[in-house]
Symmetry: C2
Subunit: 363 residues, 2 copies
């Protein structure tokens, strides 16, 4: 640093660009690659990495540039963790629950069944959850940044009605993460497929049903053309947080201004995706209903059985995996606390407004 | 561009810091002042402006610095709009609903009674609402940036129980914005006071009740020591969005990298405040209950009367103010749409989880 300052001072007379502070003078040109786990057809979830790249480039006068590639043969959707961990790419955009087979603790970076909603997940991140996740992912040489949330999703697509628990037994269903493990306990045969393979599997009959995200993305993947019944709510992740995972040594090498710019870009993208979905999901929902989709709530019996199976599963995993147990203890305390507050505030008000709106429509 | 590149190239051999792009070379040193409408005791809502200033400084290597001053005699809490508009300060952090007497359309920048919750407000901003607000505020030479949301608030503090509508008549109550106009229609005498005056007014008996924000901030302002009854939910703004308002000509003079950095910092702060409140409100709520605060829901009769009065008021204002009418038309359409989606997703799941959690506690 000292040497660089002196040299620059010497060069001032010639170059005419004086008095740049050390931080601005020394900022290097950096090019990163970012592998996305998501199909490039999706201008929502796939676009998040591009949103971050655009913000970072503009904020740094194009000195720090990130090149995004969609899920492709060199780095498959589910290969993003390894590719970032081993430095094949500097960062990746993914849903960490794709990696629960490595360690179930990855689930906390996305969301647990019947867990925190998007706002509660954000609050947990700020209130210590992100520190716990980063500590856990340190052993994979990863630094995770929340970058996009889908909110509560649709409950998925089925080629038949789900009237009771018996309808789940033997059903072949595409889902990732702990939600899949819950369904397995209820007799479902679970398939874990990347987004770009879902339509083909539904169409060929390789699976009887699938969950992807919500009305807008599901319509883009044409899932409404290969299944008639769409159930709600998507309890699998409650509010699915996506992550930009960064290779740790690459991260540590970034100058502070770039670290701050990258962090802010992820934070903005995190909120942007949720807002974008909330804007585009309703028109998509209406289009699908207009072309024959039947929207139904999961029967109470199914919801209750899934809820119980989910928390029994959490307890079992915690007893076997110390990494999961540590995160689960904090997550569970936080979940209890925040529902205590939401009961008096957000949910009390939202439920009243929903009921009052319906009442006003009747009159 | 061309000339500068040549000069820099010429200086390379000497300076060793090559190829700084024009944007990085030319970035000026800028110092702004930011007036906050909020008392400096509050490390939540007051801290937002400091959060933005810190991010901006770090991302620009301290070249763009923002100095925050709390509500003080030179720029009173309610004087922030004029101070930014006339260029006394470059920007300010405030709740736009303080200015509904200038034009009721300012309410849309904060939130309407029984309106959008925090997430829905964010979505409306992304889905065109922010463009409409900026267009409206152009005549005040202001560019608004969402910067902090409180979520649904507490329903306020009262020195007596509110059992029916008759208990509201003649009550002197501190509240700002359209929520106050709704209460006036139900016989309440409304006082509009800045945050740092609320405790004194309650203690002296100048008002019988007051709303501020939520458990954490209300405890900091010691409102729980001057009133026993705390009601929920705070329907006044549903999810109150705060804003960093920037003087338009100052904004247009900023180089693009600074504009992008400032925008991202506000976006991060917007999410940060909501998360911070969600983390700190529960412990504060428990402390207050432990020291004698009685928490009660507003009676259904009161909620319903307020709801009806609120929408009657909106319609009346819209018929008299074209600025309000334009924003209201879009807001109302958006509100209807998003509740259609939330009913199937967020609210369906949240309500199930809340009920299931209570059920699990019983067993």
């Amino acid at each position: 640093m000292r040497r660089r300052s002196l040299i620059t001072a010497a060069g001032v007379g010639l170059a005419g660009t004086i008095a740049l502070p050390a931080a601005a003078q020394g900022l290097p040109k950096i090019e990163w690659r970012c592998a996305s786990s998501f199909p490039k057809e999706l201008d929502t979830i796939y676009f998040v990495a591009g949103f971050v790249a655009d913000r970072v480039a503009k904020a740094t006068g194009n000195r720090f540039r990130i090149h995004v590639t969609p899920a492709e043969p060199s780095v498959q959707a589910f290969g993003v963790l390894d590719a970032v961990s081993d430095g094949t790419v500097q960062c990746g955009h993914t849903a960490s629950l794709y990696f629960v087979d490595r360690d179930p603790a990855f689930a906390f970076d996305t969301g647990l069944p019947f867990g925190l909603n998007a706002r509660q997940q954000n609050a947990w991140m700020i209130g210590g959850g992100l520190d716990l996740l980063r500590n856990f992912m340190r052993s994979y040489d990863l630094v995770p940044f929340p970058a996009g949330n889908t909110g509560a999703q649709l409950g998925g697509w089925f080629n038949k009605e789900i009237n009771d628990l018996s309808d789940l037994r033997g059903l072949k269903f595409r889902i990732s993460g702990l939600g899949g493990s819950v369904l397995e306990r209820l007799g479902v045969e679970v398939e874990n497929l990347p987004g770009d393979a879902v339509y083909g599997a539904m169409k060929s009959g390789a699976v009887d049903g699938a969950k992807w995200i919500g009305p807008y993305d599901d319509e883009k993947l044409k899932l409404n053309t290969v299944a008639k019944y769409c159930y709600y709510p998507g309890w699998w992740e409650s509010g699915s947080q996506l992550s930009l995972i960064v290779n740790r040594s690459q991260w540590e090498r970034l100058p502070e201004p770039y670290q701050v710019v990258f962090t802010m870009a992820c934070a903005e993208a995190n909120a942007w995706l949720l807002g974008k979905y909330d804007v585009v999901n309703v028109p998509a929902l209406r289009r699908m209903v207009a072309t024959g989709t039947v929207i139904k709530p999961f029967p109470q019996e199914v919801m209750t059985a899934c809820y119980r199976a989910a928390y029994a599963l959490n307890d079992e995993i915690a007893s076997q995996h110390p990494t999961f147990a540590r995160l689960y203890a904090d997550w569970r305390r936080f979940r209890g606390d925040i529902y205590e507050w939401f009961r008096l505030s957000e949910l009390a008000l939202n439920d009243f407004v929903l009921a009052a709106t319906k009442e006003a429509e009747k009159r």
